[in-house]
Subunit: 224 residues, 2 copies
Protein backbone atom coordinates (compact mmCIF):
# COMPACT_ATOMS: atom_id res chain seq x y z
CA UNK A 1 0.00 0.00 0.00
CA UNK A 2 3.00 2.24 -0.53
CA UNK A 3 1.07 4.26 -3.12
CA UNK A 4 -1.14 5.72 -0.38
CA UNK A 5 1.67 7.21 1.68
CA UNK A 6 1.17 10.89 2.38
CA UNK A 7 3.31 13.03 0.13
CA UNK A 8 5.43 15.52 2.03
CA UNK A 9 6.73 18.70 0.46
CA UNK A 10 9.95 19.29 2.32
CA UNK A 11 10.15 23.04 2.44
CA UNK A 12 7.70 25.62 1.24
CA UNK A 13 8.88 29.20 1.24
CA UNK A 14 6.25 31.61 2.43
CA UNK A 15 5.75 34.86 0.54
CA UNK A 16 8.16 36.78 2.77
CA UNK A 17 10.88 34.16 2.37
CA UNK A 18 10.44 34.21 -1.41
CA UNK A 19 11.02 37.94 -1.52
CA UNK A 20 13.92 37.57 0.94
CA UNK A 21 15.57 35.14 -1.50
CA UNK A 22 15.11 37.69 -4.28
CA UNK A 23 16.69 40.37 -2.10
CA UNK A 24 19.65 38.11 -1.33
CA UNK A 25 20.18 37.35 -5.04
CA UNK A 26 20.11 41.07 -5.79
CA UNK A 27 22.70 41.80 -3.07
CA UNK A 28 25.01 39.05 -4.30
CA UNK A 29 24.67 40.16 -7.92
CA UNK A 30 25.73 43.68 -6.86
CA UNK A 31 28.51 42.33 -4.61
CA UNK A 32 27.22 44.14 -1.55
CA UNK A 33 27.28 42.69 1.98
CA UNK A 34 24.18 43.43 4.08
CA UNK A 35 23.39 43.57 7.80
CA UNK A 36 20.04 43.35 9.57
CA UNK A 37 20.60 45.51 12.67
CA UNK A 38 18.09 44.88 15.44
CA UNK A 39 17.70 46.27 18.96
CA UNK A 40 15.34 47.51 21.58
CA UNK A 41 14.34 51.19 21.14
CA UNK A 42 17.17 53.43 22.28
CA UNK A 43 19.89 50.77 22.48
CA UNK A 44 21.97 52.75 19.98
CA UNK A 45 21.26 51.46 16.46
CA UNK A 46 21.68 54.84 14.80
CA UNK A 47 24.70 55.72 16.96
CA UNK A 48 26.38 52.46 15.94
CA UNK A 49 25.61 53.09 12.27
CA UNK A 50 27.14 56.58 12.46
CA UNK A 51 30.25 55.27 14.26
CA UNK A 52 30.57 52.41 11.76
CA UNK A 53 30.47 54.90 8.88
CA UNK A 54 33.09 57.09 10.57
CA UNK A 55 35.35 54.09 11.23
CA UNK A 56 35.10 52.55 7.76
CA UNK A 57 34.38 55.43 5.38
CA UNK A 58 37.94 55.41 4.03
CA UNK A 59 37.77 51.72 3.09
CA UNK A 60 34.09 50.89 2.46
CA UNK A 61 31.19 52.54 0.65
CA UNK A 62 28.22 52.21 3.01
CA UNK A 63 24.47 52.65 2.42
CA UNK A 64 21.75 52.62 5.08
CA UNK A 65 18.10 51.61 5.12
CA UNK A 66 16.22 53.07 8.10
CA UNK A 67 13.05 51.34 9.29
CA UNK A 68 10.68 53.50 11.33
CA UNK A 69 7.10 53.08 12.49
CA UNK A 70 6.40 56.77 11.91
CA UNK A 71 7.14 59.17 9.03
CA UNK A 72 10.10 60.83 10.77
CA UNK A 73 13.48 61.09 9.06
CA UNK A 74 15.53 61.85 12.19
CA UNK A 75 17.82 58.85 11.68
CA UNK A 76 18.08 58.95 7.87
CA UNK A 77 18.98 62.66 8.06
CA UNK A 78 21.92 61.83 10.35
CA UNK A 79 23.29 59.27 7.86
CA UNK A 80 22.98 61.68 4.96
CA UNK A 81 24.80 64.30 7.04
CA UNK A 82 27.70 61.81 7.11
CA UNK A 83 27.71 61.84 3.31
CA UNK A 84 26.32 58.33 2.82
CA UNK A 85 23.11 57.38 0.95
CA UNK A 86 20.11 56.53 3.13
CA UNK A 87 16.57 55.40 2.47
CA UNK A 88 13.80 55.60 5.02
CA UNK A 89 11.06 52.97 5.18
CA UNK A 90 7.95 54.02 7.09
CA UNK A 91 6.24 50.80 8.18
CA UNK A 92 2.97 52.62 8.81
CA UNK A 93 2.90 51.48 12.42
CA UNK A 94 4.09 47.92 11.78
CA UNK A 95 6.45 46.55 14.39
CA UNK A 96 9.14 45.13 12.08
CA UNK A 97 10.57 45.28 8.57
CA UNK A 98 9.68 42.50 6.17
CA UNK A 99 11.34 41.41 2.92
CA UNK A 100 8.95 43.29 0.56
CA UNK A 101 9.53 46.54 2.48
CA UNK A 102 13.28 46.07 2.16
CA UNK A 103 12.90 45.20 -1.53
CA UNK A 104 11.20 48.56 -2.05
CA UNK A 105 13.85 50.31 0.00
CA UNK A 106 16.91 48.93 -1.78
CA UNK A 107 15.41 49.89 -5.14
CA UNK A 108 16.25 53.47 -4.06
CA UNK A 109 19.93 52.73 -3.37
CA UNK A 110 22.86 52.51 -5.85
CA UNK A 111 23.70 48.88 -4.93
CA UNK A 112 26.52 48.47 -7.45
CA UNK A 113 28.32 51.45 -5.90
CA UNK A 114 28.18 50.09 -2.34
CA UNK A 115 30.22 47.55 -0.34
CA UNK A 116 28.00 47.39 2.74
CA UNK A 117 24.34 48.11 3.47
CA UNK A 118 23.19 48.40 7.05
CA UNK A 119 19.45 47.86 7.52
CA UNK A 120 18.20 49.43 10.74
CA UNK A 121 15.15 47.43 11.77
CA UNK A 122 12.30 48.82 13.91
CA UNK A 123 13.25 49.04 17.60
CA UNK A 124 11.74 45.82 18.96
CA UNK A 125 13.18 42.66 20.57
CA UNK A 126 10.35 40.36 19.52
CA UNK A 127 8.85 40.72 16.04
CA UNK A 128 11.94 41.40 13.84
CA UNK A 129 13.31 37.96 14.80
CA UNK A 130 10.50 36.29 12.84
CA UNK A 131 11.08 37.95 9.45
CA UNK A 132 13.91 36.96 7.11
CA UNK A 133 14.92 40.00 5.07
CA UNK A 134 17.48 38.31 2.79
CA UNK A 135 20.40 40.09 4.49
CA UNK A 136 23.70 38.24 5.10
CA UNK A 137 24.06 38.71 8.85
CA UNK A 138 21.81 39.35 11.84
CA UNK A 139 23.24 41.74 14.43
CA UNK A 140 21.68 42.65 17.77
CA UNK A 141 22.63 45.63 19.91
CA UNK A 142 21.93 45.06 23.58
CA UNK A 143 22.76 47.93 25.93
CA UNK A 144 23.98 48.00 29.51
CA UNK A 145 21.09 50.02 31.04
CA UNK A 146 18.54 47.53 29.64
CA UNK A 147 19.85 45.04 32.17
CA UNK A 148 21.60 41.69 32.19
CA UNK A 149 18.47 39.50 31.97
CA UNK A 150 17.39 40.24 28.41
CA UNK A 151 18.72 37.01 26.81
CA UNK A 152 16.55 35.07 29.25
CA UNK A 153 13.44 37.17 28.53
CA UNK A 154 13.76 37.60 24.74
CA UNK A 155 15.46 34.36 23.66
CA UNK A 156 14.15 34.15 20.08
CA UNK A 157 16.09 37.18 18.87
CA UNK A 158 19.36 35.97 20.45
CA UNK A 159 19.22 32.53 18.80
CA UNK A 160 19.64 33.69 15.20
CA UNK A 161 22.48 36.18 15.66
CA UNK A 162 25.79 36.32 13.81
CA UNK A 163 27.13 38.98 16.18
CA UNK A 164 26.04 40.59 19.43
CA UNK A 165 27.02 44.11 20.43
CA UNK A 166 26.72 45.29 24.02
CA UNK A 167 26.55 49.09 23.81
CA UNK A 168 26.84 51.77 26.51
CA UNK A 169 29.60 50.03 28.44
CA UNK A 170 30.51 53.52 29.72
CA UNK A 171 27.45 53.21 31.98
CA UNK A 172 28.68 50.02 33.71
CA UNK A 173 29.86 51.99 36.80
CA UNK A 174 26.41 53.53 37.26
CA UNK A 175 23.93 50.66 36.80
CA UNK A 176 23.70 47.09 38.15
CA UNK A 177 24.83 44.68 35.38
CA UNK A 178 26.28 41.22 35.97
CA UNK A 179 28.39 40.47 32.89
CA UNK A 180 28.73 36.77 33.73
CA UNK A 181 24.96 36.35 34.02
CA UNK A 182 24.42 38.14 30.70
CA UNK A 183 27.11 36.16 28.85
CA UNK A 184 25.83 32.88 30.26
CA UNK A 185 22.31 33.63 28.98
CA UNK A 186 23.73 34.39 25.54
CA UNK A 187 25.94 31.27 25.42
CA UNK A 188 23.00 28.97 26.22
CA UNK A 189 21.08 30.34 23.21
CA UNK A 190 23.91 30.98 20.77
CA UNK A 191 27.23 29.34 21.74
CA UNK A 192 30.32 31.13 20.51
CA UNK A 193 28.51 34.06 18.87
CA UNK A 194 30.82 36.99 18.09
CA UNK A 195 30.56 39.48 20.97
CA UNK A 196 31.55 43.16 20.98
CA UNK A 197 31.18 45.14 24.19
CA UNK A 198 31.64 48.81 23.28
CA UNK A 199 30.53 52.37 23.83
CA UNK A 200 29.37 54.43 20.86
CA UNK A 201 29.71 57.48 23.09
CA UNK A 202 33.34 57.06 24.26
CA UNK A 203 34.28 54.95 21.18
CA UNK A 204 35.91 52.35 23.44
CA UNK A 205 35.73 48.88 21.83
CA UNK A 206 34.48 50.14 18.46
CA UNK A 207 37.50 48.93 16.47
CA UNK A 208 36.80 45.29 17.36
CA UNK A 209 33.38 45.65 15.73
CA UNK A 210 34.55 47.59 12.67
CA UNK A 211 37.44 45.13 12.10
CA UNK A 212 34.98 42.22 12.22
CA UNK A 213 32.57 43.78 9.74
CA UNK A 214 35.37 44.88 7.40
CA UNK A 215 36.70 41.32 7.36
CA UNK A 216 33.21 39.96 6.60
CA UNK A 217 32.76 42.38 3.68
CA UNK A 218 36.16 41.45 2.21
CA UNK A 219 35.50 37.71 2.57
CA UNK A 220 32.10 38.11 0.90
CA UNK A 221 33.69 39.87 -2.08
CA UNK A 222 36.29 37.11 -2.41
CA UNK A 223 33.60 34.42 -2.45
CA UNK A 224 31.51 36.24 -5.07
CA UNK B 1 -34.60 57.61 -2.53
CA UNK B 2 -33.91 57.70 1.18
CA UNK B 3 -34.68 53.99 1.48
CA UNK B 4 -31.51 53.16 -0.44
CA UNK B 5 -29.11 54.92 1.87
CA UNK B 6 -26.31 52.73 3.10
CA UNK B 7 -26.90 51.50 6.60
CA UNK B 8 -24.00 52.22 8.93
CA UNK B 9 -23.31 50.18 12.03
CA UNK B 10 -21.70 52.72 14.32
CA UNK B 11 -19.27 50.62 16.29
CA UNK B 12 -18.46 46.95 16.07
CA UNK B 13 -16.30 45.51 18.80
CA UNK B 14 -13.74 43.06 17.55
CA UNK B 15 -13.16 39.84 19.51
CA UNK B 16 -10.35 41.36 21.58
CA UNK B 17 -12.45 44.40 22.51
CA UNK B 18 -15.35 42.15 23.53
CA UNK B 19 -13.13 40.24 25.95
CA UNK B 20 -11.60 43.54 27.14
CA UNK B 21 -15.11 44.75 28.05
CA UNK B 22 -15.68 41.52 30.00
CA UNK B 23 -12.38 42.04 31.82
CA UNK B 24 -13.35 45.61 32.71
CA UNK B 25 -16.73 44.50 34.06
CA UNK B 26 -15.00 41.86 36.18
CA UNK B 27 -12.56 44.44 37.60
CA UNK B 28 -15.37 46.87 38.44
CA UNK B 29 -17.47 44.16 40.03
CA UNK B 30 -14.52 43.28 42.28
CA UNK B 31 -13.75 46.97 42.97
CA UNK B 32 -10.15 46.66 41.78
CA UNK B 33 -8.32 49.37 39.81
CA UNK B 34 -6.04 48.09 37.03
CA UNK B 35 -3.01 49.42 35.16
CA UNK B 36 -1.58 48.36 31.81
CA UNK B 37 2.16 49.03 32.25
CA UNK B 38 4.05 49.26 28.96
CA UNK B 39 7.69 50.01 28.11
CA UNK B 40 10.64 49.14 25.98
CA UNK B 41 12.65 46.13 27.24
CA UNK B 42 14.76 47.15 30.21
CA UNK B 43 13.12 50.52 30.90
CA UNK B 44 12.29 49.37 34.42
CA UNK B 45 8.79 47.87 34.47
CA UNK B 46 9.57 45.29 37.13
CA UNK B 47 11.64 47.76 39.16
CA UNK B 48 8.73 50.21 39.17
CA UNK B 49 6.30 47.47 40.20
CA UNK B 50 8.53 46.47 43.11
CA UNK B 51 8.95 50.10 44.22
CA UNK B 52 5.20 50.70 43.90
CA UNK B 53 4.52 47.69 46.11
CA UNK B 54 7.06 48.92 48.68
CA UNK B 55 5.60 52.43 48.67
CA UNK B 56 1.94 51.40 48.94
CA UNK B 57 1.90 48.02 50.69
CA UNK B 58 0.64 49.55 53.95
CA UNK B 59 -2.38 51.16 52.25
CA UNK B 60 -3.19 49.03 49.18
CA UNK B 61 -3.42 45.32 48.40
CA UNK B 62 -1.62 44.86 45.07
CA UNK B 63 -1.60 41.97 42.59
CA UNK B 64 0.59 41.65 39.52
CA UNK B 65 0.19 39.99 36.12
CA UNK B 66 3.53 39.49 34.35
CA UNK B 67 3.55 39.16 30.57
CA UNK B 68 6.61 37.45 29.10
CA UNK B 69 7.45 36.06 25.67
CA UNK B 70 9.33 33.14 27.24
CA UNK B 71 8.53 30.71 30.07
CA UNK B 72 10.76 32.47 32.60
CA UNK B 73 9.42 33.53 36.00
CA UNK B 74 12.22 35.97 36.87
CA UNK B 75 9.84 38.91 37.31
CA UNK B 76 6.93 37.06 38.91
CA UNK B 77 9.32 35.53 41.45
CA UNK B 78 10.44 39.02 42.51
CA UNK B 79 6.83 40.11 43.13
CA UNK B 80 6.08 37.00 45.17
CA UNK B 81 9.24 37.66 47.20
CA UNK B 82 7.59 40.99 48.16
CA UNK B 83 4.63 39.02 49.53
CA UNK B 84 2.13 39.97 46.83
CA UNK B 85 0.26 37.59 44.49
CA UNK B 86 1.59 37.33 40.94
CA UNK B 87 0.57 35.44 37.84
CA UNK B 88 2.84 34.91 34.86
CA UNK B 89 1.48 34.83 31.32
CA UNK B 90 3.78 33.25 28.74
CA UNK B 91 2.71 34.64 25.37
CA UNK B 92 4.54 31.85 23.53
CA UNK B 93 6.62 34.35 21.61
CA UNK B 94 3.83 36.86 20.92
CA UNK B 95 4.90 40.48 21.12
CA UNK B 96 2.07 41.81 23.31
CA UNK B 97 -0.64 40.81 25.76
CA UNK B 98 -4.22 40.67 24.50
CA UNK B 99 -7.52 40.67 26.39
CA UNK B 100 -8.07 36.87 26.32
CA UNK B 101 -4.56 36.29 27.76
CA UNK B 102 -5.32 38.75 30.58
CA UNK B 103 -8.72 37.12 31.16
CA UNK B 104 -6.92 33.81 31.72
CA UNK B 105 -4.38 35.50 33.98
CA UNK B 106 -6.80 37.30 36.28
CA UNK B 107 -8.74 34.07 36.80
CA UNK B 108 -5.72 33.04 38.91
CA UNK B 109 -5.83 36.14 41.17
CA UNK B 110 -8.07 36.81 44.22
CA UNK B 111 -9.64 39.94 42.67
CA UNK B 112 -12.01 40.66 45.57
CA UNK B 113 -9.05 40.82 47.97
CA UNK B 114 -7.11 43.36 45.86
CA UNK B 115 -7.26 47.15 45.44
CA UNK B 116 -4.83 47.43 42.52
CA UNK B 117 -3.62 45.10 39.78
CA UNK B 118 -0.57 46.05 37.75
CA UNK B 119 -0.34 44.28 34.39
CA UNK B 120 3.22 44.23 33.07
CA UNK B 121 2.93 44.03 29.29
CA UNK B 122 5.62 42.54 27.02
CA UNK B 123 8.58 44.90 26.56
CA UNK B 124 7.73 46.56 23.24
CA UNK B 125 6.94 50.14 22.17
CA UNK B 126 4.83 49.19 19.15
CA UNK B 127 2.43 46.26 19.40
CA UNK B 128 0.98 46.65 22.94
CA UNK B 129 -0.50 50.03 21.91
CA UNK B 130 -2.91 48.26 19.55
CA UNK B 131 -4.55 45.90 22.08
CA UNK B 132 -7.14 47.06 24.61
CA UNK B 133 -6.92 44.84 27.70
CA UNK B 134 -9.87 46.27 29.63
CA UNK B 135 -7.61 47.90 32.22
CA UNK B 136 -8.45 51.36 33.62
CA UNK B 137 -5.25 53.23 32.81
CA UNK B 138 -2.39 52.99 30.32
CA UNK B 139 1.04 53.79 31.73
CA UNK B 140 4.30 54.01 29.80
CA UNK B 141 7.77 53.94 31.30
CA UNK B 142 10.33 55.74 29.17
CA UNK B 143 13.90 55.77 30.43
CA UNK B 144 16.68 58.31 30.14
CA UNK B 145 19.28 56.09 28.39
CA UNK B 146 16.76 55.26 25.61
CA UNK B 147 17.12 58.86 24.44
CA UNK B 148 14.95 61.93 24.08
CA UNK B 149 13.59 61.16 20.59
CA UNK B 150 11.33 58.20 21.41
CA UNK B 151 8.00 60.13 21.35
CA UNK B 152 8.81 61.17 17.79
CA UNK B 153 9.71 57.62 16.70
CA UNK B 154 7.02 55.62 18.51
CA UNK B 155 4.07 58.05 18.56
CA UNK B 156 1.22 55.50 18.72
CA UNK B 157 2.04 54.31 22.22
CA UNK B 158 2.35 57.87 23.59
CA UNK B 159 -1.07 58.97 22.31
CA UNK B 160 -3.20 56.69 24.51
CA UNK B 161 -1.42 57.23 27.83
CA UNK B 162 -2.94 58.27 31.16
CA UNK B 163 0.47 58.75 32.73
CA UNK B 164 4.07 58.79 31.54
CA UNK B 165 6.99 57.84 33.75
CA UNK B 166 10.55 58.80 32.85
CA UNK B 167 12.77 56.35 34.76
CA UNK B 168 16.53 56.34 35.38
CA UNK B 169 16.81 60.09 35.97
CA UNK B 170 19.94 59.24 38.02
CA UNK B 171 21.66 58.67 34.64
CA UNK B 172 20.96 62.21 33.35
CA UNK B 173 24.52 63.37 34.18
CA UNK B 174 26.02 60.53 32.10
CA UNK B 175 24.01 60.47 28.86
CA UNK B 176 22.85 63.11 26.36
CA UNK B 177 19.15 63.80 26.99
CA UNK B 178 17.37 67.07 26.13
CA UNK B 179 14.39 67.23 28.50
CA UNK B 180 12.72 70.06 26.56
CA UNK B 181 12.88 68.11 23.29
CA UNK B 182 11.45 65.01 24.99
CA UNK B 183 8.63 66.90 26.73
CA UNK B 184 7.74 68.77 23.55
CA UNK B 185 7.38 65.48 21.64
CA UNK B 186 5.10 64.14 24.36
CA UNK B 187 2.95 67.30 24.53
CA UNK B 188 2.31 67.24 20.76
CA UNK B 189 0.92 63.70 21.05
CA UNK B 190 -0.75 63.82 24.45
CA UNK B 191 -1.18 67.34 25.85
CA UNK B 192 -1.21 67.59 29.63
CA UNK B 193 -0.55 63.90 30.31
CA UNK B 194 0.54 63.22 33.91
CA UNK B 195 4.35 63.06 33.94
CA UNK B 196 6.59 61.53 36.60
CA UNK B 197 10.37 61.75 36.20
CA UNK B 198 11.90 59.41 38.77
CA UNK B 199 14.61 56.90 39.53
CA UNK B 200 13.65 53.43 40.74
CA UNK B 201 17.28 53.00 41.76
CA UNK B 202 17.72 56.10 43.97
CA UNK B 203 13.95 56.35 44.74
CA UNK B 204 14.00 60.07 43.84
CA UNK B 205 10.60 61.18 42.52
CA UNK B 206 8.82 57.92 43.38
CA UNK B 207 6.36 59.50 45.83
CA UNK B 208 4.81 61.68 43.09
CA UNK B 209 3.95 58.50 41.19
CA UNK B 210 2.71 56.50 44.19
CA UNK B 211 0.60 59.47 45.41
CA UNK B 212 -1.01 59.69 41.94
CA UNK B 213 -1.85 56.01 41.73
CA UNK B 214 -3.14 55.89 45.33
CA UNK B 215 -5.47 58.82 44.57
CA UNK B 216 -6.72 57.07 41.40
CA UNK B 217 -7.47 53.85 43.33
CA UNK B 218 -9.38 55.74 46.04
CA UNK B 219 -11.39 57.73 43.48
CA UNK B 220 -12.26 54.52 41.62
CA UNK B 221 -13.59 52.95 44.82
CA UNK B 222 -15.72 56.02 45.56
CA UNK B 223 -17.23 55.92 42.07
CA UNK B 224 -18.05 52.21 42.31
Amino acid sequence: MDSFRVKVVEKIFNANDQVAATNRARFDQAGVFTLNLMASPGAGKTSLILQTIRGLRDVLRIGVVEGDTAPVTIDADKVIAEGMPAVQINTGGDCHLDAPMLQAGIAQLPLEDLDLIIVENVGNLVCPAAFNLGTHANILIASVPEGDDKPYKYPAIYRGLDALILNKTDLLPYVPFNMGYFRNGVEILNPGVAFFPLSCRTEEGLSGWTDWIKERVIRHKQQA
